[in-house]
């Protein structure tokens, strides 16, 4: 499997959230501000990449009977490391994501990739799989955050961009974001967990439509080639 293919899989054709439809709980719960979305996405990307590398490096010595137990120990280890580092160095992010960082332990993206990919592939392939799947997850989170924040409260980049003291990026979570239109006109229903379901549903629908369409196009092209070949054969 080459890198380009893996990139396409992680981002589009086998996107963890929109196609595999795993890891949805955190996706709906934390996508309220861009700060949360990017923070959560990058945390998952780092944990997923580390777990993928370690699990695929150990894949020859992990006995099949206890592989799930070992996966969980490895994942929990990395999640705790990231949790402690966030608490120590980006406390605002740790506070705003709250329980969803420790809950990455049971996020099925990570155990799913360990089970489906890492125990059959090399360390290098698993490393790129972690990066690309994590990147695909981060992209979905960012799209959802931007959509919910903009339509829900008319803001962009909440927590991350501070406009009160000149335009700058902050990591202390105090940035108020850029107000695009007054918050009163936003559909604040999108800020509720319910709005997360709707946004995610729309995204999945768009993704399925696009995938189906490109599949049909490919089938059509294949049929044309086939017909052309048959015609030539008949002429001959």
């Amino acid at each position: 499997m080459n890198i380009k293919n893996q990139f396409k899989e992680g981002l589009i054709t086998n996107n963890p959230v929109l196609v595999q439809q795993i890891g949805m709980c955190a996706t709906m719960a934390i996508t309220t501000t861009l700060f949360n979305g990017i923070g959560m996405g990058l945390s998952v990307l780092i944990i997923l990449t580390c777990c993928n590398v370690v699990i695929s490096a150990l894949r020859k010595i992990i006995p099949n009977e206890i592989r799930l137990a070992i996966f969980v120990v490895v994942i929990a280890g990395f999640v705790t490391i990231v949790d402690l580092l966030l608490q120590a160095f980006i406390p605002a992010l740790s506070k705003s994501l709250g329980v969803f960082i420790p809950l990455i332990v049971v996020n099925c993206i990570i155990i799913g990739r360990a089970e489906a990919f890492c125990q059959k592939n090399t360390v290098g392939a698993s490393f790129f799989d972690g990066i690309f799947q994590g990147f695909g997850y981060t992209c979905v989170l960012i799209i959802m955050c931007v959509a919910r924040e903009l339509l829900g409260s008319g803001r962009f980049g909440g927590g991350l961009i501070d406009v009160a003291n000149g335009f700058r990026f902050t990591l202390d979570g105090t940035g108020s974001g850029v107000q695009i239109f007054p918050a009163e006109y936003g559909a604040s229903i999108l800020n509720l967990p319910f709005g997360g379901f709707i946004t995610l549903g729309m995204l999945i629908a768009v993704m399925q439509y696009a995938l189906k369409k490109s599949k049909k196009k490919k089938e059509l092209a294949a049929r044309l080639v086939l017909e052309e070949a048959e015609r030539k054969e008949a002429e001959a």
Binding site: T32, T33, L58, I61, I62, P63, E65, I66, A69, I70, V73, V74, A76, G77, T80, I81, L84, L85, Q87, A88, F89, P91, K95, G98, G152, S153, T174, A183, G186, S188, N191, L192
Partner: protein, 180 residues
Amino acid sequence: MNKILKLALVLFLVCAVTAGILGGINELTKDRIAEINRLATIAAYSTVLKADGYDLVEADMSDFPTVDKISRATNGAGHVVELTVSGAQGLITIAVGVAPDYTCTGISIIDHSETSGLGANAAAESDVGRNFRAQFVGADESVALSKFGGAIDALSGATITSNAVTTAVATAIRAVMALG
């Protein structure tokens, strides 16, 4: 039998290595985390009651199950009560300043998971949030929402959160009264 021993050994080794690494990371970060938490507490306390230091009060708080701890300001300005109450979505941790005459000097919400745009306004650094919290300054132990005959206006769309905060303030003042 050998098979089981081998499985146990592998699992034990993986756990041992993981635990060792985590111990190291914990050692590296724990001082920093403790310092961040201490500064966050001081920052929250000083917005409700001006003082340069706070001493923890040892007292039996079994009559006030929502009270986590009470600290006395070293300059005699009163007490700060920290409570954890149930909000609309989860637990709200709140610090309430209580003056020696048993009135509220201010409140600060340390931690919460209320709905963004509704209940979360109680903790927000916005006009809505500041106005909501300012209402509690000077309140006594009979404080209540206007809906229940009191003087506190609830946040729109967030009656449960507003009521939780109001109840916490009343409990805090009663807890300090109980100290004598």
